[in-house]
């Protein structure tokens, strides 16, 4: 980013002396030059301010969305606890919490079997053979570059092999830069295939000479998440000692429901999408949690907290944590004494819900930030019914599942900590479960902050904010020198903080919008000094000037922001009216800024953004009704007259979609009218607002049902989406 030279680096040359002379004595050419320089620097500063604000907008909307998601999820947890099994609302969502009975890996293997899937002659995509070779993997990269799609048979086969491999990998991979190998480390990719291809182009494909670490968040948001996974997994299979994948917070099926990955897979694989998603769910839970280079550099996705303990983490059963948003249930044992390896999953063979699980009505629903501990306790209550069996058998089974890398001693320890005490109220039991879960959530969700200390990350709703003192302590405790993490988008693709002891690396360029940021990757040799390579995918962006790129990103951010403003119209108007007791329709700009923050809580610099959001004012007073009209938001063309219902839909667009997808248990993309009605009931419960049956019926009348009386989720969401147009006055060529 260009910024003007500052006073402190200002070089006092002859020009300064001349400048301080009376104007007439300065030669005209120099006067002209001075003027142009002054004018241009002013312009650049303005651009920088706009760029910074645009960034704030995107980031705050993004994090608010994450917070929303977690709140929604906590709400479901609350439902599970407080509603009887007979309640219809609870049943709608119970399947995402449901335990099942018998579920061995053998049964799963049968379910995921690809052998019966035939590849038709007409198929022109790549053919894979197993064990997969490096030319296969390279072929896959080429195929995806040419926009081909891998046949579902090969997808399932590849994923199956990946799953088998991941199960024997440890929680924390240890790698070394021996033989003068340089290691390449990539951050978030988020479905941006063009960025991965660019990295491979610039840096070369993974191989034993070219080891890679991919630091999580491979999926969601971008449109080629699955292709990225398939590429990474194929290289993992070919070079298991040289390709390392760390789990990110988006490697989580609950998060995927909201952020697009689920939708992508179902869209690309209509017949087998559901199976693919199920297998991926297992794969995600088996992804390693961190990588350590030369015992000195720790690489993980989110971050750390003041309680981070790598020794504890290396001992957990990481696959228990299918979703970081939900702590695991205790293991249950069926009659034969074998334990489940995968709880809470849909069992393809046994369909009945376990009726012996009773919930205790104990806790009141707490606020979003305190919820993590509440949720822990919630899940551990009521797990009373267990068939006891020998500790030996339990150990044997766990060893089989956990893989050979764990020693008997390790297993024994983890068993003592978690399962041996049958009393659910025992504090010790609570804590060790709680401990493990907290460690994992912290690793995947935390962000660094400039101040010392460690506080809950309320902006995202998960993990914590940790300070430089925590970095020092945790690094010291483990004898490490550097923490490399991802999780946050950075303008230049990377950023140091905490006295250069923490390094953020982000590999998805143009993340918010074309031109918004560069991506980067790290090359690191035995000296453990990181070297950065930056890039920006999409040839068009490189040709954009700073001005154009800021302008474009800014228009996009402002559009997103205006849509949000419009969605909150009635709350905003009430807030404005509090400042306008005489109902003149006018408020001051200062009050406007105050109201905006009070309602939206995005922490945005409203006064600075004002010039972009507000047109003309009368003597510094804003006509707020007129302002709403001028926001230039196109509402969907609908006969629905219920304005407040519409507004709920705009405001809670993502939540609504998430609930739909959860309810759509067979992942067909369709729900029945009854399910539709139940969705609204759930949403109104969560929001604690009233949505009448009549309003829902009106809504139903206004939408198109399929012939069989079902609603297509995608169509519905698109039909009721707000569309922000560009404001005419700020149109820049």
């Amino acid at each position: 980013m260009t910024s003007s030279p500052t006073g402190i680096t200002y070089c006092k040359c002859l020009c300064v002396v001349i400048c301080s002379l009376p104007t007439l004595l300065i030669p005209p050419a120099m006067r002209a030059a001075l003027l142009i320089q002054r004018w241009y620097r002013q312009y650049v500063a303005r651009l920088e301010m706009r760029r910074r604000c645009t960034w704030n907008i995107f980031q705050s909307i993004e994090y608010a969305g994450e917070q929303d998601q977690i709140k929604l999820y906590n709400f479901f947890g609350y439902l599970m606890d407080h509603f009887t099994p007979a309640s219809s609302e609870r049943n709608l969502i119970s399947h995402i919490f449901r335990e099942n009975n018998i579920c061995h890996n053998v049964d799963w293997e049968r379910y995921f079997c690809y052998k019966s899937i035939e590849v038709p002659e007409l198929y022109s995509g790549p053919h894979l053979s197993f064990p997969i070779t490096c030319s296969n993997a390279a072929e896959l990269v080429e195929a995806f570059k040419n926009k081909q799609q891998l046949h579902s048979r090969y997808v399932l086969q590849l994923l199956g092999e990946t799953w088998r491999l991941l199960r024997i990998l440890p929680n924390i991979s240890q790698i070394s830069t021996c033989h003068n190998k340089e290691i390449t480390i990539c951050g978030d990719l988020h479905g941006h295939l063009e960025d991965l291809l660019l990295v491979f182009y610039k840096n070369g494909l993974p191989s034993s000479e070219k080891p890679y670490v991919f630091n999580g968040d491979f999926v969601d948001r971008g449109k080629d998440s699955l292709e990225i996974l398939l590429i990474l997994f194929s290289f993992l299979l070919v070079y298991p000692n040289d390709v390392h994948l760390n789990r990110g917070n988006h490697e989580d099926h609950i998060v995927n429901l909201r952020y697009g990955f689920t939708k992508e897979v179902l869209g690309k694989y209509r017949l087998h999408g559901k199976k693919i998603l199920k297998l991926l769910q297992k794969i995600f839970s088996w992804l390693p949690l961190a990588t350590v280079i030369d015992h000195k550099v720790l690489v993980l996705h989110g971050g750390i907290s003041d309680t981070t303990d790598l020794h504890l983490i290396s001992r957990v059963d990481r696959h228990k944590y299918v979703s970081a948003l939900r702590p695991p249930k205790r293991k249950r044992q069926n009659r034969s004494g074998m334990t489940d390896s995968d709880l809470e999953d849909d069992d393809p063979t046994a369909k009945s819900v376990d009726s012996s699980r009773r919930r205790v009505h104990s806790l009141t629903h707490s606020s979003s930030t305190g919820t993590r501990h509440e949720v822990q306790r919630r899940s551990l209550q009521g797990l009373n019914n267990r068939v006891t069996c020998s500790v030996e058998e339990e150990l044997k089974e766990r060893r089989r599942q956990a893989g050979l890398s764990q020693s008997y001693g390790d297993l024994r320890n983890s068993l003592t900590n978690s399962d041996s005490d049958p009393d659910p109220d025992s504090g010790e039991l609570l804590e060790s479960y709680g401990d493990e879960w907290k460690q994992i959530v912290d690793m995947l969700w935390s962000d660094p902050m400039p101040q010392d200390g460690c506080v809950p990350n309320e902006v995202r709703g998960g993990g914590c904010y940790w300070g430089p003192d925590v970095t020092e302590e945790v690094l010291r405790r483990h004898n490490l020198t550097l923490l490399i993490r991802s999780h946050e988008c950075k303008q230049e693709g990377y950023e140091f903080c905490h006295n250069r002891r923490v390094l953020t690396i982000f590999s998805a360029s143009n993340y918010y919008e074309v031109g918004s940021n560069r991506g980067a990757y790290i090359r690191m040799g035995p000296d453990l000094v990181p070297h950065f390579i930056q890039y920006q995918a999409n040839r068009a962006t490189r040709a954009l000037t700073l001005r154009q790129s800021v302008g474009r990103t800014e228009r996009s951010a402002l559009r997103a922001l205006r849509e949000k403003l419009f969605a909150h119209k009635s709350d905003l108007i009430s807030s404005f009216q509090e400042y306008d007791p005489e109902n003149t329709g006018l408020i001051s700009l200062g009050h406007w800024a105050g109201a905006m923050e009070a309602v939206l809580r995005l922490g945005l610099p409203w006064r600075v953004l004002r010039s972009q959001l507000v047109g003309d004012t009368l003597d510094g007073m804003l006509d707020y009704h007129l302002w709403f009209r001028e926001l230039a938001i196109t509402e969907p063309n609908t006969e629905l007259s219920n304005a407040s219902l519409l507004e709920t839909m705009y405001k809670h667009h993502s939540n609504l979609e998430t609930i739909f997808r959860i309810i759509d248990t067979d992942n067909s993309g369709l729900i029945s009218f009854e399910e539709f009605r139940q969705t609204w009931k759930l949403l109104s419960s969560h929001l604690q607002t009233e949505i009448s049956d009549e309003a829902i019926s009106d809504l139903a009348v206004s939408i198109d049902f399929n012939k069989d009386g079902s609603i297509d989720i995608n169509e519905f969401m698109e039909a009721f989406r707000l569309v922000g147009g560009d404001l005419l006055q700020n149109e820049v060529p």
């Binding site: 910024s3 003007s4 402190i8 020009c15 142009i36 241009y40 650049v44 500063a45 006064r607 820049v732």
Partner: protein
Amino acid sequence: MAEDKESAEAIVSEVHKKIRAAFDVFDHEFNKTVDVREIGTIIRSLGCFPNEGELHDAIAEIEEEEPTGYIRFEKFLPTMTKVLMERKFRPIPEDLMLQAFEVLDKQKKGHLELEELTKYMTQEGEPFTQEEMEEMLSAAMDPDKNLIFYKDFVSMMTVDDPR
């Protein structure tokens, strides 16, 4: 009289809030300080057009006795308020900008050559850094002809200005 005083206070209060808002955008640690290197951006974003020398003087006034590399809001506010109330560092009107370019365009061609403009901007006045020069050229220059049609450039930059 009382009314005037009230409205004067209201104006100052608004000015303070404006300054605070701009300052906060760069206060990354939420501790009411900003990196001194961002002060120029903040001052300019508030609508002022200081030259480098004036900026340097302003910073000297705002900095601590022993410079820490950071500027505190308590020191920034009074100086900046004065700047805004006294309307120092006024904006440059479009026609004056045009005249400035015309002065450099000795042959009155209606455009400037790449080398001409570069020479002036990097050698005269308060010279541009190479980065600044490249950025201006990418915005101002017609890449096929390597010429700067300054009249269009000035209009374009002025339109861009969100007030």
